[in-house]
């Protein structure tokens, strides 16, 4: 299993990241300042305290050594150590002279051997810090020299004293740093929020603008404020939207004018076509009495006039769909009866077999549009498929239920190429046949009519060859008004 990356797990919103970044910078500043302050204070306190102690040890040794007889007795050494202990600031004083060694008080760390060697070798005041039981101690030692010859007398003074007071002072600085840092961090939050808001407001405006654009509102523009990078981004966004609006507007105008042209052409064709169709019967009825070639011409004219009329009708119908001018007049109808009526009206009862449900299935549909769908599907199956053609109606129950009308033929079926373009306007499956009997718009119109009901129209190949067209209607359409 792949673990989510750390970055992903820690990802917050832009606001969270901005505030976190701000606080992190503040925290780093505060910690660095406090740490540096503490370090400086630490060194300063240590050096000052240490120097004071060492100076007082040196002074006390110089002062009291003058009174010490030479060579001293053990009692004199003890007295000397006692005086030093009270006058030097060191808690424990050890005085050694050859093999003798006296100590003013018990406890404390032993004098470190390196210190002892340094004092003997260097003949000057030397110190070393040691730690005993967690407490830092300062140990120092100095040889006593003769005032006149500067020669070592062999007497050495060692002092040891705890540095607790210095530790306390350092602790106070540490606490002060902490107490200073916390308010600093707290005080950093409001400016962090303000800064985040300042950045986020234009970002949010951009977000809203992009969403409006995604919803299709290309007129949306965003107010650009200031001169920063976000203002530049906002301006760039506005320019892109304006360019897009222009392009889309141009495309829409071109498409609308193409559609209007198609609608206008078919409208203009309507009246002349109507005249031709009106007189067709006069020609047809007289054709038998005319000379053969005139009779053939007359029949050609009347046949083509009918076809032209169908084409103009279908073009007008498609134009109305394009213009969104078609509406549903839906009410509860018996779908099986609608199928029977459609076949009866066109004289197809004998050519088409039916498989209709018992009891009758009712659905809220527009009967005229349903008739168009059935007639186009059956007409298509009769023209392009092979018999037997079957119309089957099935239904699923419930409010969400739907009615399915299958039109099946037993022809060669559909090639993938044909199936993909079947519902395109003027699509011809058989390119060799330049014109079909229909207008070339029948299936496109059936598709639009099905969609107007909120249904679907699909085509596929049946399990035993041949094409199966399936129109599926919701039993209660999403649009339309019923009575």
């Amino acid at each position: 299993m792949k673990r989510p990356s750390l970055v992903k797990r820690l990802s917050f919103g832009l606001r969270g990241r901005l505030i976190a970044g701000y606080l992190l910078v503040a925290a780093i500043s505060v910690v660095a300042t406090a740490g540096f302050t503490y370090y400086q204070a630490h060194i300063s306190i240590l050096r000052t305290g240490q120097d004071t102690l060492l100076n007082s040890l040196r002074d006390a040794t110089t002062t009291f050594a003058g009174d010490l007889p030479y060579p001293p007795t053990r009692a004199q050494l003890t007295s000397f150590a006692g005086k030093l202990a009270s006058g030097s600031g060191f808690r424990i004083i050890t005085v050694s002279y050859g093999a003798q060694s006296v100590t003013s008080a018990q406890g404390g760390p032993a004098i470190p051997e390196p210190l002892r060697r340094d004092v003997t070798a260097n003949r000057e005041l030397t110190f070393q810090r040691v730690t005993q039981d967690g407490t830092p101690w300062l140990t120092a030692g100095t040889p006593i020299t003769f005032a006149d010859s500067r020669q070592p007398s062999g007497i050495e003074v060692y002092g040891a004293t705890p540095l607790r007071s210095l530790s306390d002072a350092k602790a106070a600085v540490w606490v002060a740093s902490q107490y200073g840092a916390i308010p600093a961090l707290v005080l950093a939050v409001p400016p962090a929020l303000l800064a985040a808001r300042g950045v986020l407001r234009p970002v949010r405006r951009l977000q809203h603008g992009a969403r409006r654009m995604a919803d299709g509102d290309l007129t949306s523009r965003i107010k650009a404020t200031g001169n920063d990078e976000l203002a530049d981004l906002t301006k760039a966004f506005n320019e892109s939207t304006a360019a897009l609006e222009t392009t889309v507007g141009e495309l829409r105008r071109m498409e609308a004018s193409a559609r209007r042209f198609a609608a206008d052409v078919s409208h203009e064709l309507r009246t002349p076509v109507a005249t031709m169709v009106a007189v067709s019967d006069v020609l047809d009825d007289s054709a038998d009495t005319l000379q053969p070639d005139i009779s053939r011409a007359a029949r050609l004219v009347t046949t083509e006039a009918d076809r032209l009329a169908r084409l103009v009708d279908d073009l007008m119908e498609i134009s109305r769909f394009d213009a969104g001018a078609n509406t549903l007049i839906a009410y509860d109808i018996d779908v099986a009866e609608a199928v029977r009526a459609c076949l009866r009206a066109r004289g197809w009862q004998d050519k088409v077999s039916t498989d209709l449900p018992e009891p009758p299935v009712t659905a809220r549909l527009d009967p005229r549009r349903l008739d168009v769908v059935i007639a186009n599907l059956v007409g298509n199956a009769l023209r392009h498929g092979a018999p037997p053609v079957t119309v089957r109606v099935t239904a699923s129950e419930g409010d969400e239920g739907c009615v399915r009308i299958n039109v099946t033929d037993h022809g060669g079926g559909l090639s993938p190429e044909t199936a993909a373009h079947l519902f395109d306007r003027f699509y011809k499956a058989d390119q060799a046949r330049s014109r079909s009997e229909g207008s070339g718009l029948g299936l496109a119109i059936a598709w639009e009519n099905t969609r107007l009901h909120g249904g679907t129209l699909t085509a596929a190949n049946g399990p035993h060859g041949g094409a199966v067209f399936t129109a599926e209607f919701p039993r209660t359409p999403t649009a339309g008004d019923g009575t």
């Binding site: 309507r270 109507a274 019967d281 009329a309 009206a345």
Partner: protein, 226 residues
């Protein structure tokens, strides 16, 4: 031989329709405008008007209303396919039926005959039926209300006789469209609604709350029950 008044503004279509109707055996008087049509109605005996809704001078619907107001002559309107709102407005203006252009002469002739066709008299064995104030004489093809004869167009009479033949039975609108009007299923079912509305204004006391011809909401219409 029925006398038809054809009101159509486009000259070619007017000539074509006149030719087609005369070929079918009608006598046709053609008028090129609504105004000319109304004048012709005053001067010439007319059995039926074929009216194009798109007229230049007067609105076709207005011509239809004026005809309806002054003459008992049936009106068939010519409409363009898909102009559903025109069909509704035409029916509201009082048209009896509509035909969608382009139309073959034979089809228009069939429509005209359907509108003009009276009910074939039923066998004389059928007695006169009495429904409260309404008397239906199937053999005499007459309707009287409170003893006074109600003037119905042939279509309205056919509609009433069809509904009252099976009182209480609900007839679907699609069914009435096919049996009474003789339309195929692609016709506009609102034709039935407007026919029912016109029939109600003639036989009901209050067409808004009909007693004789009742609506079965979502299904159709029935005669009674009283």
């Amino acid at each position: 031989m029925p006398q038809i008044l054809l009101i159509e503004d486009d000259q070619s279509l007017r000539d074509g329709l006149q030719l087609a109707l005369e070929h079918q055996g009608h006598r046709v008087h053609a008028a090129e405008s609504g105004h000319a049509g109304l004048t012709a109605l005053r001067t010439t005996r007319t059995d039926l008007v074929v009216l194009d809704l798109m007229l230049p001078d007067t609105d076709g619907f207005e011509v239809c209303r004026r005809i309806r107001a002054s003459w008992p002559v049936p009106v068939i309107m010519l409409t363009a396919r898909g102009d559903d709102s025109d069909i509704v407005r035409g029916l509201d203006a009082g048209a009896d039926d509509y035909v969608v252009k382009p139309v073959r002469g034979r089809v228009l002739d069939a429509r005209i005959r359907a509108v003009l066709r009276g009910q074939d008299p039923s066998p004389a064995t059928t007695a006169t039926e009495i429904y409260e104030e309404l008397t239906v004489d199937r053999s005499g093809l007459s309707i009287t209300k409170n003893g006074r004869r109600v003037a119905l167009t042939p279509l309205e009479l056919r509609l009433l006789l069809h509904l009252s033949a099976d009182p209480g039975h609900v007839f679907a609108r699609q069914e009435l469209l096919e049996t009474v009007w003789g339309h195929d299923p692609s016709a506009d079912v609102r034709l039935v609604d407007s026919g029912i509305a016109r029939l109600r204004t003639k036989i009901e006391d209050d067409p808004a709350s009909a007693r004789y011809i009742q609506t079965a909401r979502g299904f159709g219409y029935r005669f009674g029950p009283l």
